[in-house]
Assembly symmetry: C5
Homo-oligomer: 82 residues x 5
């Protein structure tokens, strides 16, 4: 998993039907406690908001965190770091 801070959201009106209702967040990756210049766009699954530090699962396992397990998603926020 990756750790990062949610910096903003991405709005897409025209999108895959299976992604309708998904909340796309732009997340800045943290490594070893330091902010990096890497960013990823992840779908929220835990009610996280801008400014929160989160855990992101990437790749094929990510969509297992969504209610629709066949959605074409490659990055999902799976936890909020305390």
């Amino acid at each position: 998993m990756l750790k990062g801070i949610i910096r903003g959201n991405v709005v897409s009106t025209r999108k895959q039907e299976s992604l309708v209702g998904s909340k796309f967040m732009e997340v800045q990756i943290i490594e070893n406690g330091n902010l990096t210049d890497k960013y990823i766009i992840a779908i929220d699954s835990v009610g996280a908001g801008i400014g929160e530090t989160v855990l992101i699962t990437v790749g094929s396992p990510a969509r297992l965190a969504l209610s629709n397990k066949c959605a074409p998603a490659d990055a999902v926020i799976v936890g909020i770091v305390d």
Copy 2:
């Protein structure tokens, strides 16, 4: 997901039969609002065109956005950013 701008298309006449009809687009990746020097070739699934900012799903989940879910595709455009 990745965010990027469609810069061009790639034409391939001789290709895997399961990819016939696919529209291959070359997309320049954007991170944190800035253009990067990273490019990816993705199949369009939402009617996106050159110059549009899009969301791309990569890896194994990508093909879930195609009508043929067994196509050998590793990157698919799944949304157009507003």
Copy 3:
């Protein structure tokens, strides 16, 4: 697989239900015997602790090391290096 040293743990109270009980560890990657500046967050499956050198499986195969094979996990500690 990747090799690395466990440097700390990550606590997340609000997380995906399928990840409840998972122990998230921050691991510093080792390549060719040298510490790198790459870090990954992996779920422990072998009882590893901070300071131990471990093997990590990443990507879709990672969750095969968990009791819940449908957990949205992309990195799991699968061995402790002697």
Copy 4:
């Protein structure tokens, strides 16, 4: 998908039985029309030869382009660029 030019082939007599008959090609990756210093070894599925510009699918979807969909392949040439 990645775009690249086939630079050579790789011969392996002792290999996984499910890969017998596979043609391994070393491909130099092209991004935005420029040659990079990245190389990948991909199995040909479209009759491509040295010097041709090709499209490569990587990761888990790659093997969907092979007749044996259970072959342990992570990169397959799926098209020849016109």
Copy 5:
């Protein structure tokens, strides 16, 4: 696939039960005939030894080269280069 030279092995007594008997090799990656500073740990499936040049399949397809196709492995040596 990646090409590389086996530089050593990694011993792990405490590991996932499904990985017992696996031979973990540290492999230095070769690109375009040149040694790189990238290393990966892969499970041998073809009887390769230290110093041999090998082909490695990474990611989800890797475990298809193992007798236990549900082992949590993300990199497997699938061929020895002639």
